[in-house]
């Protein structure tokens, strides 16, 4: 992962966020500042790829998060310290410095104000349907065609919401503790079996949200997708108990937001491993592949091996 804020164009944003972190007690900041800054860069990077509305929402979320959690940390720090004057001033007040608190408070206030002033009209405009006038100058709202519903085989059951009859949680949904090291999941670039060009079209039956979206072979990209988060597959209980190992080749598409689409098992040594492998891959997140400066869809395949730990 490229974590250099300058090369990612996040230098200014990171510096502003570091100023916000000055709102936290010194001990908390020293312990978590680097991790929080790293997470901020990943969050901001993702929001930037999703557009102005996402950036606006993310900015507000982060300022809101800091504004709420900083006082909680101060309360915890004060409660944890033995509150005589010496420890309070030595352990909490002095390391944090009044200057830091003032700077952090000021930055937080300015950020909220600036975010609303700069982004609100744009965000509002982006959320509203376009309006135009008829020949008499009367305003009316133009209806926007709903995108066609995805075909039945493309609907991910986990994403289907039925508010009228929500599926209740079930006892078997309680997660099992997985055995670390019980599988490997190296990512390999997709190697097409047939001779295709640098780009392919999504077949209609596989188009998820838009038509004529180009999907690229990783070798045709300027920058290949980089995994940011890889969920571990759950070893099927019966397979584990029976001592069965196996492997699954999962085919999927990384979209321009870095999300995985259309993950399915191409082939496997045992069908019972397929859903576990595909379900895990669906949760993966990537930094999307880029071509000519734009985030693009990328076709990938990954073998997932289910291997029992010898311990």
């Amino acid at each position: 992962m490229n974590s250099n804020p300058t090369t990612r164009g996040l230098g200014t944003a990171s510096r502003v966020y570091r100023l916000l972190l000055k709102l936290y007690p010194a001990a908390f900041r020293e312990r978590y500042q680097e991790e929080m800054t790293q997470d901020f860069e990943d969050i901001w990077d993702r929001a930037r790829e999703r557009g102005i509305v996402s950036r606006f929402q993310t900015g507000l979320l982060l300022v809101w998060d800091t504004t709420l959690s900083a006082p909680t940390e101060w309360t915890a720090a004060i409660n944890n310290a033995h509150l005589n004057k010496e420890t309070f001033f030595v352990k909490i007040y002095l390391p944090s410095r009044r200057q830091d608190l003032l700077v952090g408070s000021l930055v937080s206030t300015l950020l909220v104000a600036a975010a609303i002033w700069v982004s609100y009209p744009t965000a509002l405009k982006a959320l509203q349907p376009p309006a135009k006038t008829d020949s008499e100058g009367t305003l009316f709202v133009v209806d926007i065609d709903e995108p066609p519903p995805p075909e039945a085989e493309e609907v991910d059951a986990a994403l289907v919401k039925t508010p009228q009859d929500p599926a209740p949680p079930q006892l078997q949904d309680i997660p099992q503790v997985a055995n670390p090291g019980s599988f490997t999941q190296p990512i390999q670039p997709f190697t097409p079996n047939v001779n295709i060009g640098a780009t392919i079209k999504i077949p209609e039956h596989r188009a998820a949200t838009r038509s004529n979206t180009e999907i690229f072979d990783p070798t045709a990209l300027d920058q290949q997708p980089v995994p940011r988060y890889q969920a571990r597959p759950q070893y099927p209980f019966e397979m584990r108990r029976s001592g069965v190992t196996g492997s699954v080749l999962v085919d999927f598409i990384v979209d321009s937001d870095g999300n995985v689409r259309n993950a399915f098992a191409v082939h496997s040594s045992n069908h019972d491993f397929e859903s576990a492998a595909a379900d895990a891959v669906k949760k993966w997140r990537f930094k999307p592949g880029r071509k000519n400066g734009h985030a693009v869809f990328t076709h990938m395949q990954v073998p997932i091996d289910f291997v029992l730990d010898s311990k």
Binding site: D65, L68, A76, P169, P175
Partner: protein, 122 residues
């Protein structure tokens, strides 16, 4: 944004857990993760209804570390995939016990709701 949890320092779990703490524990149930991975998994698992910023996440995790529910992992990924600013966390035995207790409590509540026909049968 979720209200922060004040976790107990003793060994007995103080149930119910807050959504943030429960979801963090749940996220770590299938293996160790770093903070950003936890954030993403919680957001995904809850369909976006629980969105934690870094402040909420690390505030909760700080108290969970002190309570012994989670621990920092010694293992790191391969150098090519590693970022030294990351820390990886794992569930402890105590954390597993608390998670199991909370999940059982929720399961019991669901069973009661089914009995009273608030929820449809499984």
């Amino acid at each position: 944004m979720n209200k922060e949890a004040n976790l107990p320092s003793g060994s007995e779990p103080d149930l119910p857990l807050t959504p943030a703490v429960f979801n963090i524990l749940l996220s770590l149930a299938d293996g160790e993760k770093h903070g950003y991975a936890i954030m993403l998994e919680v957001e995904e698992a809850t369909d976006g209804s629980v969105r934690m910023g870094p402040g909420t996440l690390y505030g909760s995790m700080d108290r969970m570390l002190k309570a012994g529910y989670i621990a920092e992992s010694d293992q790191r990924p391969a150098a090519s995939e590693d970022d030294k600013r990351r820390r990886y966390y794992r569930l402890t035995q105590s954390g597993q016990r608390v998670l199991r207790a909370e999940a059982s409590r929720l399961a019991r509540a669901v069973n009661i709701a089914r009995t009273k026909k608030v929820l449809s049968p499984a």
